[in-house]
Amino acid sequence: MAPPQQLVLAASSADAGVAAWDLRTGAEAIRHCTCASRPRALTVVADRFLAAAQVSAGNSAPIHYYHWDKPQVAVKSFPVEPIRALITDPEGSYLIGGGVSGDIFFWEVASGELLVQWHAHYRAVRCLALYDFLLVSGSEDGSIKVWDLLTMLDEQSRLEAKTQHIYGFNQHALPVIDVACFHGALAVSSSEDRTCKIWSLSEGRMLRSISFPAIIDSIVLDPRSHIFYAGGRDGKIYVTAMGVDVTSPSSDDSSIIGALDDHSKAVTSLSLSTDGLVLISGSEDGNVRVWDTRSQQVIRKFKHSQGPVTNVLLVTPKRVNLPPLQSLRKVCSANGESESRAVIVPQPENDVHIAGNFSSNFLERFLDALQPGSSSRLFESGASTLYGAPNQQGVEWRSKYLELQDLFVHGALDQLPSSKNT
């Protein structure tokens, strides 16, 4: 079976659509038309379909859904305000959007219901990230806040909680641009103050701050969590160590252990394959580059458009039989609860035939029961019935019959202890 197709997606803030290239062949697979998105506004819903928040054109800034194989927009939704940052959870159950007013919107994908909306920041939400169900939001006002979605989704908990967010970090002096989370409850944020900061989400404090020679527009974490890539406005992608070597406590410049330098303009967006070997970068120069992270060489180059590339993604599309997509609601319904919908999504791999051992395999069980030792009692009584007791000759068949019955009942059916014998 051929390895699943991997697509490199790129979107621009100028309207040039979402381009999708096959990573292996390098051919452009499809271009989804009409899409102009700000950075961090393009997301893949559990590999099933694509969602992109549009820059505001006129008085509307819709969110578009695209199916993998159709170039046109599948569904348009019109949220109450332009959405700057859009993410989904790993299972694709929810879409979370950060608005220009600083509000965060939480939609359920299956029903399109707006489950909750809250005012998170004083200014626009620039970036969002999820760690389990902790939501990290970074804003133009320079603050990063960590939200527990469990609390936010439950009215009672919301009322009980003293503050809505669990942590608020104000160490960034200027707008926060990007944030990424990784296991071990770590978050890395970048800001216009030319630093990246590493946060512990479990302890709620900053662990490190790393200064960069340029503003970092995009961060992506290596799956092994020991380095991260930071795309700078100077066109370089800085390879940065997460940990520090305590034996050489010099300046934190030592954290930057290398740079990938090929873009002529700011690197706006980064995406890493799940194995950490392929890095995709999108730049304001309109190009998308694919890097081999081991050799640090560009292995592919795609030209998206004249306009700046704002989003790149590396995805493995999962083509399943989707029910019609629901457009996202503008406001929370008054009786939102009854409208929300949970679904069991069909699993494509479940369509294959069940294995033979799935069905009750009588003979196997029968044999098990007949293995020496497991039914010694049976053999003993069997011997006596068949050979030992002459006075039972007349009822030999009958007793053997019962005995076999017993065998079924015990060994094969695992129930009904000798219902027939009693």
Binding site: Y94, Y131, Q171, A342, I344, E403
Partner: protein, 880 residues
């Protein structure tokens, strides 16, 4: 290669197989009408399977002669089996069908494709013949499902297979109403057909549904069989590719369950609850779905009312809920909508009934009724806990909007759940929640898990204080010194008005446990008194998952307590285990001591690995346990222990780099920046009296400088104080045993010096260590005016001053509660360190503690520093 005759080359000679098969057919396989003793039957089956006599799989180059010989032998086998099946005698027919089933499994693809339709007809005739003996029907059902399973692998025969499947459905439907064993196998066959060839059942959908429903509510069907019927019903929606059919079915089931509950819970809950749930199931304006099954049968017949509840209501609810569980956890060809609100509301409804009366004056509520319900309540609760568990499994992240609701429900239910099975189930649900929702939910569940599992695990060891004297003095000393320190801590805590109820109550059992840890619970009386092992096991597993998921979260509240508990449990489990394992493994049923040992070590490993940024307090003891466990060769324990040691390798030889910069950029510095100078000067004084350890000299001034910043670190460190304190206490007690202060000092030095080194890359727990280090003089501080340290200290401080302000201000304005906790922890940390400073060695100048005090006062409130005063006074007697 030998030919058809003569000697074989060896056991692998392919000629063996046809020969053997011929021999089996000729000599051992009975002819129609003759008998075969069961042992002989087993050996025939065994021979066929072991040697693969029917496979006709030729090894190596094609050998026409061999192939022909083998084919002929298999032909003979098939023919004989056919003869057996044609026989009039039930026994022969039974035997024939058995062997035919074996043939399906074993024979080559070509042979199967060639003759499957022939075989199908034979078996079908068995099924359809009304005169067939029960046993023959049973074995025909199984053989038939084997046939379909094998047939399903032939994709090119799909069409024929579907039509065959369609022909089977009707006879099977008739068999469903037969008695126990026949119906049992018939259901299995039906499920196989539904799974493999859903379209063939489509035509009979309604008939199948009603046949299953009839059986579900019939009171003469036993529980196991009913569950099988329930599973068949659950798989039925996959027959029709439509999302409504699934929703309709679960809606119907839930309505029936709700109605049954209405009758059952009269007087035990508010009356309107049933109607509310019905509203969720059938939104106003919608037509209610048709009733499940035959309406008239839902009354339960004319059983007496007292009996009805036991024999009809509860079993029916259980089996219907079981059906829901299966429906929720299986996949269907289309996306289906789950009425998750109704499911949770229904679960909540049942789980909140605790048997107490709500409306006392309700006319029909009699004490008898209440008694009946209380009698059946555990099984009802159990069913609905299963339902909740299935909901969590099926809905996964989609449950997020309801998660807070479920957390509240579970927290409350922990109080009701006293029976072992219930508790185990609650724990397993909590585990599922933790795994599916991750760190977010662990914050909400933390308190409930810790308090409940501590309660469950603690009482296990808490009752035999008498055997204290039987154990070596180390332990006694250890425990007594520990109880001193604990008392002290308790007092100061009490003054700080912070200690939560659970924490307080946890103290005494812990003390007792500490003592009894060394003792083995050997008398049978003790064993009986214990919390059931299964519950403790579940509690341990839950703690393990909690540590895995949210181990570094809000550590100040709970980690110290849990870490201590886990090391104690593991030690006591492994103490007793060696002997108990052999003694009890045969008698103890589901949960053996070995399982418990394994669970305790697993939880211990989780506690080690999840310690955030710090070396876990009981690592040494834990490693010893793992080492010992590794020696139990051949057990799961040994397997786990070796992998645990591997996992701990990272902790013992830190290869990973610390995330925290050695350069003071963390808030820890900013928080306590002003104090540093003071500490520095103090330490300078210490260093006059202290002897500098060799190990630390390499790191130079930087090192102590780092330590001094960490003292003032606001987060992370407080929780660790008691574990570290205990470690010290152990060290001390060992010292006491040895008798002289000199020795004690030396020993302490030896132990603590490495600890101080370890603390350098870590962030959290260092203030205590620092205190120890200071008093024992191991901290090497050469000068305060060391240019590198002061410079490094001052510049970043200035640079980060805005951060400092924010950091300090933020907790006050936004997180009042955590702030309070922080303050409290800080003081207790100070107390602990102070008392240790005093107890740790007389060499510590009295000035040291006062300096500590002053430094604390700079940022803590006055009240707190007053609190810490008694800590010192209290600590004094301890040092002797």
């Amino acid at each position: 290669m030998s030919g058809a005759g003569g000697f074989l080359a060896d056991v692998n000679d392919p000629w063996l197989k046809p020969r053997l098969l011929r021999a089996v057919v000729g000599e051992r396989l009975p002819k129609p009408g003759s008998d075969l003793p069961p042992a002989e039957l087993a050996s025939v089956l065994d021979a066929v399977r072991t040697h693969g006599l029917l496979t006709e799989r030729l090894p190596g180059p094609h050998d026409a002669k061999l192939a022909e010989a083998w084919r002929a032998a298999v032909d003979a086998w098939v023919e004989r089996v056919g003869d057996l099946m044609q026989s009039d005698l039930p026994y022969s027919r039974w035997l024939g069908t058995c062997f035919l089933g074996l043939t399906f499994q074993e024979c080559s693809n070509e042979r199967f494709a060639e003759s499957y339709s022939n075989w199908f007809e034979k078996i079908l005739s068995n099924l359809q013949e009304p005169s067939s003996v029960q046993l023959v029907i049973i074995v025909s059902c199984t053989s038939m499902s084997d046939l379909f399973v094998r047939l399903a692998r032939f994709l090119n025969l799909k069409k024929e297979a579907s039509s065959f499947a369609g022909r089977v459905v009707e006879p099977v439907l008739l068999l469903l109403n037969a008695n126990g064993p026949v119906a049992d196998e018939a259901v299995d066959l039906l499920r196989t057909v539904i799974k493999l060839y859903p379209s063939s059942v489509n035509r009979h959908y309604n008939k199948v549904e009603s046949a299953i429903e009839t059986n579900l509510i019939s009171s003469d069907v036993n529980v196991k069989l009913k569950e099988k019927f329930a599973r068949a019903l659950a798989s039925l929606p996959s027959v029709r590719v439509s999302e409504e059919i699934w929703s309709l079915m679960i809606q119907k089931i839930l309505i029936v369950v709700n109605n049954l509950l209405n009758d059952a819970f009269i007087g035990l809950e508010e009356e309107k609850k049933g109607r509310e749930i019905l509203m969720l199931l059938v939104p106003p304006g919608n037509d209610p779905p048709p009733m499940l099954g035959d309406q008239t049968k839902w009354s339960g017949g004319n059983v007496h009312v007292t009996k009805k509840f036991r024999v009809y209501t509860v079993p029916t609810i259980s089996v219907l809920i079981h059906c829901c569980c299966v429906m929720l956890t299986s996949y269907y060809p289309v996306q289906v909508n789950v009425p998750v609100h109704a499911l949770i509301a229904l679960t909540r409804r049942v789980l909140s009934v605790d048997g107490s009366l709500r409306t006392k004056l309700f006319p029909t509520t009699t004490s008898l009724h209440q008694e009946l319900i209380c009698f059946e309540l555990p099984s009802l609760h159990s069913s609905f806990l299963d339902l909740l568990s299935a909901t969590i499994k099926g809905m996964r992240s989609q449950l997020l909007p309801h998660a807070a609701n479920i957390v509240r429900l579970m927290t409350k239910y922990f109080e009701i759940a006293k029976l072992p099975t219930m508790r185990t189930k609650v724990y397993s649900i909590v585990q599922q929640l933790l795994t599916s929702m991750g760190v977010g939910i662990s914050m909400h569940l933390l308190e409930a898990i810790v308090s409940n599992s501590v309660a469950d695990l603690d009482d296990s060891c808490g009752h035999d204080m008498t055997s204290l004297s039987t154990k070596p003095t180390i332990v006694t000393n250890e425990s007594s010194s520990k109880s001193y320190s604990k008392k002290r801590k308790q007092e100061t805590d009490a003054q700080n008005l912070h200690v939560s109820g659970s924490e307080k109550t946890a103290f005494s059992p812990k003390k007792r446990k500490k003592i009894s840890m060394s003792t083995t619970t050997e008398t049978t009386a003790d064993v009986i008194m214990l919390t059931p092992l299964s519950v403790k096991l579940a509690a341990l597993e839950t703690l393990e998952i909690l540590l895995n998921v949210g181990g570094s979260l809000r550590t100040d509240h709970w980690r110290a307590e849990v870490d201590l508990l886990l090391i104690n449990i593991a030690r006591s489990a492994c103490d007793t285990g060696g002997r108990y394992e052999y003694k009890l493994s045969s008698t103890v049923g589901e949960t053996s001591i070995a399982d418990f040992q394994l669970a305790s070590l697993k939880a211990l490993l989780a506690s080690f690995l999840s310690s955030s940024h710090a070396r876990p307090p009981y690592l040494a003891q834990g490693i010893e346990l793992f080492r010992k466990g590794k020696l139990e060769i051949g057990t799961k324990l040994a397997e786990f222990c070796s992998s645990a040691l591997l996992a701990l390798d990272v902790l013992t030889h830190p290869r990973a780099l610390s995330l925290e910069s050695a350069v003071p950029l963390g808030p820890g510095l900013t928080y306590g920046a002003p104090e540093k100078a003071i500490f520095g000067t103090e330490k300078y004084k210490f260093s006059l009296s202290g002897n500098q350890s060799q190990a630390l000299e390499d790191d130079g001034p930087y090192d102590d400088w780092l330590t001094s910043t960490k003292v003032s670190e606001p987060t992370g460190s407080p929780p660790k104080d008691s574990p570290v304190g205990k470690e010290d206490a152990i060290v001390m007690s060992q010292g006491e045993k040895q008798g002289t202060h000199l020795e004690e000092h030396q020993q302490t030095d030896v132990v603590i010096a490495p600890a101080a080194i370890q603390a350098v890359p870590t962030s959290g727990r260092s203030d205590i260590e620092m205190a120890d280090a200071a008093t024992t003089g191991t901290v090497n501080l050469k000068t305060t005016d060391n240019p590198s340290s002061s410079n490094a200290a001052l510049t970043p401080v200035r640079a980060l001053l805005p951060d400092l302000n924010q950091q300090v201000a933020a907790p006050v304005s936004e997180e009042g509660h955590t702030d309070l906790a922080d303050l409290q922890n800080k003081t207790s940390a100070v107390d602990a360190s102070l008392s240790k400073a005093v107890t740790g060695g007389e060499a510590a100048p009295s000035g040291a503690s006062s300096h500590f005090m002053q430094s604390r006062k700079t940022d803590d409130s006055d009240a707190e520093s007053e609190d810490s005063m008694p800590g010192i006074v209290d600590g004094d007697p301890d040092s002797d």
